[in-house]
């Protein structure tokens, strides 16, 4: 009896001293959407984030990290519950939320005090402008930029008259507003329903309006529905489409099939960029998960490496919030999206590309780069941020 007790004590002592030797890992709260049809967004971001950690053998920037992933089910209230529990648990570094409405519920708790939130996808306008926060970073983009860039692309492509469509909810209305901000021609707006299945009615209206091109924002399943029906309605042959990458990411492309050929996609990530960091990422991701990464994966990977750069600069000490913040702002990492820096409002400033869906070298459809639309694009809210 006594012996076992002693042994147990010895074990405890050993374990604690080992712990002291090996640094306590930095815990990162990764709140994301894994269930629901939109679950693949979170899955890609999470898998890429994990890949970055694995490549360093359980570390980021040389500092051991522990990734705590939880599914928000695309429900703001659930996201809020998770962040509340994680903050009580003492976690002070967060990322992973895919959707703006979940982010709105999560962001306050995740940035209070010395806590940091680094967005790997959603970048709502209020957080970029007047309500920008010292501890909030968007390593992805500001929500309006992809749509503004789509407007620029449409100008470049010489379209004069366009029909623009989006579901009638906050992000959809923002998308159309963003597009109109830069597009110089004439537009007709059509709002669709959230989670709409059938678009035949809208497509008939498009045909009747006979525009030069169509811009549409329908992420996830609705976007696949739209693209499939756009193709089968025959409009794809006569009226080209310009979309932000959310309406046609790699997975949606795979689900849509051949009818997606010819779609113009505006993205902050050029999957065929020959930058070594990008090529290495795509290779590693494909090897590990047996599928091609999406833009969400690229952003997740960038976010992980950004965090790694800041952890490295501060040796994993999150307690000095000012130091950690400066390290993040420096963004001293090799982004798979090319040149990367933070703007004054701590939102990513990156290049934007026009891609086109066409048969790649292997005969399969891929998003092939056409041109760069803008370099180091700063979002239109940065000026309003007092940081």
């Amino acid at each position: 009896m006594k012996k076992t007790l002693n042994l147990a004590m010895l074990g405890a002592v050993l374990a604690s001293s080992l712990n002291a030797l090996a640094q306590e890992p930095v815990r990162i709260g990764f709140i994301t959407t894994l269930s629901t049809p939109a679950g693949y967004l979170g899955e890609d971001a999470r898998d890429a984030f994990r890949l970055a950690i694995e490549q360093e053998g359980g570390k980021l920037g040389g500092v051991p990290v522990e990734l705590l992933v939880e599914d928000d089910g695309l429900q703001p209230a659930k996201g809020k519950q998770i962040v509340d529990r994680m903050t009580l648990d003492g976690i002070s570094l967060y990322t992973g939320v895919m959707f703006s409405n979940v982010l709105a519920a999560v962001v306050n708790a995740a940035t209070q005090g010395d806590r940091f939130y680094i967005s790997a996808n959603a970048g709502p306008s209020n957080l970029a402008g007047e309500q920008c926060k010292a501890n909030y970073f968007a390593a992805s983009y500001q929500n309006d930029v992809p749509h503004e860039m789509a407007g620029v692309a449409a100008n470049d492509l010489g379209y004069q008259k366009m029909v623009i469509l989006a579901p009638n909810y906050q992000a959809g209305r923002d998308a159309l507003a963003g597009f109109k901000r830069t597009f110089k021609g004439e537009v007709s707006e059509i709002y669709t329903k959230l989670n709409q299945l059938d678009f035949s009615v809208e497509l008939a209206r498009v045909r009747a309006l006979n525009p030069d091109a169509v811009f549409q924002f329908h992420p996830g399943g609705a976007g696949i529905n739209f693209a499939k029906q756009y193709g089968s309605s025959g409009l794809a042959k006569s009226i080209p489409m310009v979309v932000p990458v959310f309406s046609m990411d790699e997975r949606m492309l795979a689900a849509t099939g051949n009818v997606a050929e010819g779609v113009n996609v505006v993205s902050g990530w050029n999957p065929q960029s020959d930058k070594p960091a990008n090529q290495a990422f795509i290779q590693a991701f494909t090897a590990k998960y047996n599928r091609a990464p999406t833009m969400y994966a690229a952003q997740g990977y960038d976010t992980a490496r950004l965090i790694g750069s800041a952890l490295k600069a501060t040796s994993g000490n999150l307690e000095d919030a000012d130091a950690f913040r400066s390290a993040l702002r420096a963004a001293d990492f090799d982004s798979v999206r090319g040149d990367f820096r933070f703007g004054s409002n701590q939102h990513a400033v990156i290049d934007w590309h026009l891609l086109k869906v066409q048969a790649g070298a292997d005969g399969k459809l891929a998003e092939v780069p056409v041109k760069t639309i803008a370099t180091a694009q700063v979002d239109s809210y940065a000026a309003k941020c007092a940081l």
Binding site: L34, S35, V69, E70, D71, Q75, P76, A77, K80, Q81, D84, R85, L88, D89, S100, N101, A104, A105, N108, P124, N168, Y169, Q170, R173, L194
Partner: protein, 341 residues
Amino acid sequence: MSRRIIIDLACLATFALLPLLAALLDEPFLVSLFTRLAIYGMAAASLDLLIGYGALVSFGHAAFFGLGGYVVGIVAFHTAQLMPLWGWEGSNSALIVWPLALLCCALLGLVMGYLSLRTSGVQFIMITLAFSQMLYFILGSLSFYGGDDGILLNERNSLPGLDLNDANQFYYLCVALLVGWLLFCRRLVGSRFGFVLRGLKQSERRTVSLGLQPVRYRLTAFVIAGLGAGLAGILWANYALFVSPDMAAWQKSGELMAMVILGGVGTLLGPVLGAAAYLGLEQLLSLWTEHWLLAFGPLLLLVVLFGRQGIYGLLMKGADKPRRARARSALPPLAAQEVRP
């Protein structure tokens, strides 16, 4: 001591001592989890009032949850933005905002109940669903209040003598309101009104032949149950500091219904246990695996197929029928009385 009282006391003790336990285990999250249980428990118990005692299967109960929360959210929005609402500069006092929210819920209950009660059976289930979905879409189209993104609140409402921003104090307030609500519901189902409501479930023809108009009683019950869910919504808005349209979506109504069935229909305390089991399981399983629904589905199924009276029925198994035992002891022997002339 009857089994029923033991269960009551055990639940009460758990709720009362929980913050101590949380402090001992150094798990402050427990308080937050149990606050959520108390709030959902209140909403589920109020739905049980309809389902279990009035045989009114409402598939739109989340409408009240959402509306209660939204009134709090909208008032807070105007107060924080210094933007008067029809000339009223807003208020952060719970004593003003909460009754206002309850009033709105009562009005909604009157209109929704009056129209829905023209139908019965499956049609009632669907028409209540329809009304709550309409509210859901209305809330979602309020782009001024964030549309689908909802409203973030800066602080909890204030109540004299309490600091609601303190997790423990807010928790005890929720528990006290839950206990109060359950006691009220128990009195209600045993009252003259409650007997009419339960009587309607057993024989509507008899009840009409006694000179009672069914709709008046059912509508009253509908409004009262709506107030319960509305209060839960108010507390939720304060707890989460966030309201969004999905508080009123059909999935939320379905969740509440699942809690009632899981806990035991027509038992009032059962649905609170059902809420605890539902949220607890969801929490545990989702920590364990992201494919938690794969396990959650069959678990639900087992309870439905083999645990007919829900959790409360399981706990009461083998115990005396409580109602009769109580009625007997409560009734003093009646003196032999003269038969009416």
